[in-house]
């Protein structure tokens, strides 16, 4: 034998792997969010960037502090904490004090992720846990919307952002209302064009329907999410709001307004599709999406709050283990699924 045998590895098959990895998928998501970040800056000034930095800092610092040493590098590397902070930031009102945003980021990771055992184990969407915590904690600050400005105000930062920790913010501008608030409390509709462009009051990232859809399209083409979930949400929200609209057009907004106002698009594309907290099976995804659409229409039209997307998604997150359990795919060659 002229050559020595190589040291052979004994690793069980399959040897081959599909190229895609989890950090790739995460990177896709934040890439698709970049236009929204730019739009938020355009509409609400560079304060938007400060706010996003605050949530991201809150998220990453919490993650760093509460993750035991050997896993720290991994949890930063998988980018999910960054993404949670970014997503949370995009759902906040533009004038929210930075300390609240930071606290929200910390709550999102602390309550939404760390206590569950980290990425993949959490059962509620961390960003939405953070937002629900903020909305419950600071209901006034979380529902005070500053009006969308223009490029002229790009470098004006709202004073309320710099409220000292634990202190109430003082708002310098007259607050505006979101299209949903206008609809619910003053029966004023907002034109579809404005909803698509996004120069309305609302959370940083949710106002521009067009850009949200664009990001969704990108993720769809990259196959980064289960298209069934947004599809089911849109279909059921459109259907139920359409039915209500037929009953009383004056009182209930039509499907288009329902779809393009508030955070429905943003929630459906970026929050509901979080794979960790949504059902695994296709049938489960449909049920999950339909449930969200139904709850959104229910809360918006019959509830006390103008917006219900966050709560709808959290509630369906809670139901996800049950959905998963009862929508196990039918095993090949068997009459029914397991479970």
């Amino acid at each position: 034998m002229s050559r020595k045998d190589p040291d052979l590895l004994i690793q069980t098959t399959p040897v081959l792997r599909q190229g895609l990895t989890t950090p790739h998928a995460m990177r896709d998501v934040w890439l698709s969010l970049l236009p929204l970040v730019l739009a938020a800056t355009w509409f609400f000034g560079i304060g938007a960037l400060l706010l996003l930095s605050a949530t991201i800092a809150g998220a990453l610092m919490t993650e760093w502090v509460f993750t035991p040493e050997p896993r720290r590098r991994d949890v930063i590397r998988d980018q999910s904490g960054l993404l949670t902070g970014l997503l949370l930031g995009l759902t906040l009102p533009p004038g929210l004090p930075l300390w609240m945003a930071f606290l929200g980021g910390a709550a999102a990771i602390g309550l939404g992720k760390i206590i569950w055992g980290g990425l993949g184990n959490n059962l509620f969407n961390p960003a939405l846990v953070g937002r629900a915590f903020l909305l419950g904690t600071f209901p006034i600050a979380m529902t005070t919307w500053s009006p969308a400005g223009g490029p002229g105000q790009l470098f004006e930062i709202q004073g309320s952002l710099f409220a000292l920790p634990f202190q109430s913010p003082v708002y310098d501008a007259v607050s505006s209302a979101t299209p949903l608030g206008l609809m619910k409390f003053e029966q004023q509709s907002t034109g579809l064009m404005r909803l698509m462009i996004g120069n309305t009051g609302g959370s940083l990232g949710e106002t521009s329907g067009f850009l949200v859809l664009l990001g969704g399209l990108f993720l769809l083409l990259r196959r980064d999410f289960d298209w069934r979930i947004p599809a089911a949400i849109f279909a059921s929200a459109a259907l139920f709001s359409g039915l209500l609209h037929l009953v009383d057009p004056a009182r209930y907004p039509g499907p288009l307004f329902t779809l393009f106002s508030g955070s429905l698009l943003f929630g459906a594309i970026y929050m509901a599709t979080d794979p960790v907290t949504s059902p695994l099976s296709p049938r489960g995804a449909w049920i999950f999406g339909i449930g969200i659409g139904l709850l959104v229409v229910l809360i918006r039209n019959f509830g006390g709050l103008p917006e219900g997307v966050m709560y709808a998604i959290l509630l369906m997150n809670a139901a996800t283990p049950l959905i998963d359990r009862y929508t196990q795919p039918r095993v090949f060659g068997r009459k029914a699924g397991p479970g």
Partner: protein, 192 residues
């Protein structure tokens, strides 16, 4: 009619017995480990709640109106004996149902949701129909919370929950997040 819908929805979602009134926490934290068990306990509790609502109305209308100070002692004695009686009756009439619910019935006696329902229904002056709807909503709300909780807890068994979090600490925080999610129902059907 509208009033009844609100009573039901309020007890089911807005003021869920477990998640907003903190009633029935012992079984909620103790028995919600398995989905099957939780669902059955929920059903059994709903049944007892409805019977309790009936008894409470009867007591209120015919006895306590003359002796309001006996309210608590009457309720507790009546609930305990009703549960006993139901247990015996089910055992005799439907052994299958007894097998399904039987072991939970004694647990229900010490469930403060039952006494809470009777007291709330009295304080609010519900009539018979309202009381029954209230009981139905409360029972359904209890079952809903139990089942959701059980589903989530079964899932956490497969997770790497940090050792410090395991057990009641995690369950309480799950309940907190659930309770936060249920805040979304605030104001439901009240703004007509």
């Amino acid at each position: 009619m509208n009033e009844l819908v609100w009573i039901f929805v309020s007890a089911l979602l807005i003021n869920n017995f477990v998640l907003a009134y903190f009633l029935g926490l012992c079984p909620f934290l103790g028995v919600s480990g398995r989905l099957e068990t939780s669902f059955r306990l929920g059903l059994a509790t709903t049944f007892v709640l409805i019977v309790t609502a009936l008894c409470a109305w009867f007591l209120n209308t015919y006895i306590l109106i003359h002796a309001p100070y006996l309210r608590l002692i009457c309720f507790i004695v009546v609930i305990a004996s009703t549960v006993q009686f139901i247990e015996m009756a089910i055992k005799k009439l439907s052994p299958a149902l007894f097998k399904a619910l039987g072991i939970f019935l004694p647990l229900i006696t010490t469930n403060c949701a039952i006494l809470g329902l009777a007291i709330f229904a009295t304080n609010r002056g519900y009539n018979l129909v309202e009381g029954l709807i209230f009981a139905l909503g409360a029972g359904a709300g209890f079952t809903l919370a139990m089942v959701l909780m059980a589903g989530l807890r079964e899932e956490t068994e497969l997770s790497d929950v940090p050792a410090l979090m395991q057990g009641t600490a995690l369950n309480l925080i799950i309940a907190g997040i659930l309770s936060m999610a249920f805040m979304g129902f605030a104001g439901l059907f009240s703004s007509t």
